[in-house]
Amino acid sequence: MDAALIIETVIKAVLVLAVVAGLAGFATYVERKILAFMQRRLGPMNVGPHGILQLAADGIKLFTKEDLVPQNAVAPIFKIAPVIAPVCAFTAMAAVPFFPEFTVFGYKVTPIISDINIGILFVLGVASAGMYAPLLAGMSSSNKWALIGAARTVIALLSFEVVSGLALLAPIMMIGSLSLIDINDYQVGGVGSWLIWSQPVAFILFMIAGFAETNRTPFDLIEYEAEIISGYATDYSGMRWGLFFIGEYANMITVSLLVSLVFLGGYNPLWIIPGGIMILLKVSFFIFLFLWVRAAWPHIRPDQLMWLCWKVLMPLALINILITGIVLI
């Protein structure tokens, strides 16, 4: 392995970490503002113009808050659990291409940390491993709400995982590769070649599974306030809680990137819009969709989630795979 590759990879990794962590923080501000406008409020207004510095105020608050470990908690696990969330969320991004290739001073840059040939499998696997964070946090907290939250984490994982995997199988059968760059290149021929037209069912199923994976509103049962206070995060405060938060928003960005890459043509240029702008637009739209759905829709019970995933979505995904297989043959 030559030194240039190592340096390049380190720079890319640091860039992804810094930019995505910053974006995750900024997304909290955007979420508050959009939710506020949708609910006919103003949102944060007082810190900076239109509350734009609320982000800094929140950061100061989170960093300076007392770090509490409850008396009966299993301290080592309680302390490690919040780290798992952002670590898994950022690790998942290692196999995700962000932009098309470009050249800087004659040096060809591929904006992906590692183009492994099982990219999408890696992303899904690591993102699911991120579910250990709420699970361990809830079980080590010695708090009944946290414990229920942890139990619901397992329920959510058991439900959405089968759907997201089976939903992605059909497009992968068509493409014949698990690398996200290959998936992107498959849809190079403009809007007509986007996989959403040939795999609409898989798109909807994967979107639903993505909402469940990121614990966003229709499926936010693991930290639903009205039922279990804050779920697994009930006992957390300060930056440990903030780590969960960064992990959640980084996961949202990952899922948005995955959907854009697999179903909506990824970073292929469209007409006069360059590919880099296209993927930014798509990811922004999906982030907006996450917030939009949160403002509009009620959430469902754990048993409804299991019912939905196992009795409705999984058979649909299997039928989708079957039909795709018949058409391909």
Binding site: F37, L42, A295, W297
Partner: protein, 205 residues
């Protein structure tokens, strides 16, 4: 209305009954319900409604409170004020003690004395705002419209006694001279020609 009618608690004509969705009786019906709910698109109606509210301009109901304040109605019952007579600037309160008598929270206390002109004067007047329930009886019973409720509702203070003494509630003389004493505008307020009725009570008959 007769007593019998009055006691009827069942739904009277005029109620609109809402036909709830029928529960599915068998598997086929519940399957049909799932299909109907899936493709009806009600969720997208919800999405459209919140989006419509978001893109409307000036749609916010939030009042940015310290900068903007709600207009208080003239009959709003907040912290009390003691008013002065319109021209002379003397206190309106004649020390009759009716407010102290009627106060159901027993929070008003007043002391009176005979002053140098051998007229009755209110020397002490306090309201314990920790006990006051802002019922408005004192303002209603006052024959001289001397004690009224003001719109001063921002009564956060370091001390319980703030606002409660006579000098806090009485319109300051300089403010009065600058014509800043606001007259009470609602039912029972002074008429426009109230000044012409003012005269000193004769001391001897």
């Amino acid at each position: 209305m007769s007593l019998e009618q009055f006691k009827r608690r069942d739904a009277l004509p005029g109620y609109i009954f809402y036909e709830a969705e029928k529960k599915p009786q068998n598997g086929w019906e519940s399957f049909k319900r799932v299909l109907k709910r899936t493709f009806k698109g009600e969720l997208f109606v919800g999405l459209w409604i919140v989006f419509r509210e978001m893109i409307k301009r000036g749609n916010s109901h939030t009042l940015s409170y310290p900068q903007e304040k709600l207009a208080i109605g003239p009959r709003y019952r907040a912290i009390h004020k003691l008013l002065r007579l319109l021209e002379s600037g003397n206190e309106r309160c004649i020390g009759c003690g009716l407010c102290e008598k009627i106060c159901i929270a027993k929070c008003i206390r007043m002391d009176t004395r005979i002053d140098e002109n051998s007229r009755k004067e209110v020397s002490q007047y306090t309201i314990n705002f920790g006990r006051c329930i802002f019922c408005g009886f004192c303002a209603e019973v006052c024959p001289e419209l001397a004690i009224v409720h003001s719109g001063e509702y921002e009564n956060a203070s370091e001390q319980r006694a703030h606002y409660a003494l006579k000098e806090d509630m009485l319109t300051p003389l300089d403010e009065f001279k600058a014509n800043k004493q606001k007259e009470f505008k609602g039912f029972g307020a002074l008429s426009d020609n109230a000044d012409s009725f003012v005269k000193k009570t004769p001391l001897a008959y």
